[in-house]
């Protein structure tokens, strides 16, 4: 499994032709306590950069953009009852949705862990 990062603080954990998307630890820390998450519907076709979800803290609403193009295959429904999971475990239980990856080539445009850590410095 490889994990890639966007400039906008989404991550995508890639397994074969599918990827799991969420926000980074840095992003959840900047947002503060997350209180609500609007997830996409399964089957939604996304182009890279499309608005896929919205996370709300008490002070801000932030759009989550699709890191790559593809189709939503599964959403983390647990988040609707426990949005705080995104704060507690953004890379694990706080994942947001899974998508099939339409063009694996797009992954090359994203950052790896080291590049992302450099990006948020």
């Amino acid at each position: 499994m490889t994990i890639k990062f966007t400039q906008d603080h989404e991550y995508i954990a890639v397994e074969g032709a599918s990827g799991t998307v969420g926000i980074t630890a840095y992003a959840q820390d900047q947002l503060g306590d997350i209180v609500f998450i609007e997830l996409p519907v399964v089957g939604k076709v996304l182009k890279k950069g499309d608005e896929a979800a919205v996370v709300e803290s008490v002070k801000a609403a932030s759009e989550i953009y699709a890191p790559v193009s593809g189709t939503v295959t599964e959403v983390n429904a647990v988040l609707s009852g426990e949005p705080g999971l995104v704060n507690q475990d953004p890379a694990g239980a706080g994942w947001m949705f899974r998508m099939s990856i339409a063009d694996a080539g797009e992954l090359d445009t994203l950052m790896d862990e080291a590049a992302y850590q450099d990006h948020i410095k």
């Binding site: 992003a27 900047q30 503060g32 306590d33 008490v58 759009e63």
Partner: protein, 515 residues
């Protein structure tokens, strides 16, 4: 994802269990539903027998379960609750962008005259000639102060006025065959209502970045003025407290490109009687009567947001409006020609018109100008006294009626703008506006208004300087645990939003502290 960069934290502070000072006079007040019951009433009304013949079988069957209080119980409940509020009358309220000035009580007195308060919007116009005359007088004052051709009085608040003004612009563009213009330019420092209004009308919002000095660059506007631009929405004086020095050039460029200039007049208090926005080239501007003309804020409304219109937009004014005829004044209630129709039932906020006109007559042209000058002087005085200890993101221009600081002076202290504001509460002041405008980090926007004496300003500045010194000295607890002397300590907004409890229900337990 899009990131929030204002730096506002969301955690509530923790600290020792502290009992507020003065708690003996500020007891916790239970909810109305915990005091009253369905049998108590503070109104004596006869019990009448009615026939249900004319109710069509639609009588109420479901429970009301509505608690009532007798008059003494109600008096105590609402007096006790009131004492948990900070108010202008009770203390300095420098909430930037909100113009918390003194509310003269004459305004309240005359608004309650039966000839204003006890007249119906739909009684014959022959029986309300005085009310129509009042609307005309108010319109005359607003048009004269702004040097504009028309005014639509009806908007219920500033945002409603924005909506109307932008509707008029849309109608004007359509009438010119320019309906394809789908873009509205909005500077990043704008009030949130501006992009919300433009988007509501189907426009795409194109943000204009602020210059380093906090003002809008005419060349940035020119660069953005494509043939699909319908209007610009510009606040002047802007939300950073600065008068836009290139506003006339911006207006000219906008007009040259076939677009209109909507001016957000939220900050008109800085320039009333001193600068006429019509002379700057605006096409539409709302005026918040509850800010500039001191119809009270009332805990968040009601407001009133009349919109002045340039000659170009005047034909698109909505109904109703007052017109002189041979026999007196008439009320035009149905749209003729290009007019917009109506954006509210009846004739707008008459109660606010009465108060605003009373405020204007009391001040006069000279007093309004003096008030604007004093408001600007007060903001500059605060800026001068605090500028050394606080950080000014835009030091280049004199500020107008409000002064903007950022949180650079708190760097390395572990104290945020929010903490600093909460510490002010413990000193008896209402905090300034925080985290707005969005263009600076940790914004603190201080608007003193003309109502404050030098003595009050000095007290405030002394406290601000002392707090800044403490913050820099590393006394973080005073800030992170604040407020400690208010009726409540910091409230858990996360909990309120994650599990919303928006009403009381019978059997609802008192909340337990989280974790």
């Amino acid at each position: 994802m899009s990131m929030n960069s204002t730096g506002r934290p969301t955690h509530i502070g923790t600290g020792a269990d502290i009992t507020a000072h003065g708690a003996a006079l500020l007891p916790n007040e239970p909810l109305l539903f915990e005091i009253g019951d369905t049998h108590h009433s503070g109104v004596d009304l006869p019990e009448v027998q009615i026939s249900t013949a004319r109710l069509g079988g639609f009588e109420r069957r479901s429970d009301l379960d509505l608690a009532g209080l007798t008059e003494p119980e109600a008096m105590r409940h609402y007096v006790r609750l009131s004492r948990l509020n900070h108010s202008i009358d009770g203390g300095f309220y420098p909430l930037g962008s909100c113009t918390m000035k003194h509310n003269p009580r004459l305004n309240e007195k005359v608004a309650r005259l039966p000839g204003f308060a006890d007249i119906h919007p739909l009684q014959p116009v022959s029986t309300v000639q005085g009310a129509l005359e009042l609307m005309q007088q108010l319109a005359h004052w607003l048009m004269t102060l702004t040097n504009t051709a028309a005014v639509a009085l009806t908007p219920k608040a500033g945002a409603h006025g924005e909506l109307l003004g932008m509707m008029a612009i849309k109608a004007a563009q359509d009438a010119r065959g320019q309906g394809h213009r789908k873009v509205v330019l909005v500077p990043e420092s704008a009030h949130g209502t501006n992009p919300a209004t433009a988007a509501f009308l189907g426009y795409t919002v194109k943000p204009i970045p602020a210059r380093e000095d906090g003002t809008v660059d005419v060349s940035a506007v020119k660069a953005a003025l494509a043939p699909d631009v319908a209007a610009i929405m510009l606040t002047n004086p802007n939300t950073c407290g600065l008068f836009e020095p290139q506003v006339v050039e911006i207006a000219e460029a906008v007009h040259e490109a076939g677009a209109y200039f909507y001016c957000d007049g939220a900050n008109f208090n800085a320039i009333m009687g001193v600068v006429r926005p019509g002379d700057l080239g605006i096409d539409a501007m709302h005026i918040n009567l509850h800010k500039t003309f001191s119809t009270p804020h009332g805990g968040g409304g009601p407001g009133a947001g009349p919109v002045v219109l340039s000659q170009a937009l005047a034909p698109f004014a909505p109904v109703p409006f007052v017109r002189k005829t041979g026999e007196g004044l008439e009320l035009v209630e149905h749209a003729e020609g290009e007019a917009l129709g109506r954006i509210t039932a009846f004739h707008g906020q008459m109660g606010m018109y009465v108060r605003a006109l009373t405020f204007m007559l009391s001040h006069g042209a000279d007093g309004l100008a003096q008030a604007a000058k004093d408001a600007v002087l007060n903001a500059n005085y605060i800026k001068a006294r605090l500028g050394g200890a606080f950080s000014l993101p835009f030091p280049d221009y004199p500020t107008m009626h409000e002064v903007l600081f950022d949180d650079a002076f708190l760097k390395g202290t572990g104290i945020t703008t929010l903490d600093f504001a909460k510490a002010l509460i413990d000193e008896g002041f209402h905090p300034m506006t925080m985290y707005f405008p969005l263009v600076v980090h940790g914004a603190m926007l201080v608007e003193p208004t003309e109502s404050e004496s030098k003595q009050t300003l000095d007290q405030f500045c002394d406290v601000m300087l002392e707090l800044a010194e403490d913050a820099k000295a590393g006394d973080a607890t005073r800030f992170t645990a604040a407020p400690m002397k208010a009726p409540r300590r910091r409230l858990d907004e996360t909990r309120a939003a994650r599990q919303p409890v928006l009403r009381w229900d019978r059997g609802q337990d008192l909340p337990q502290a989280a974790e």
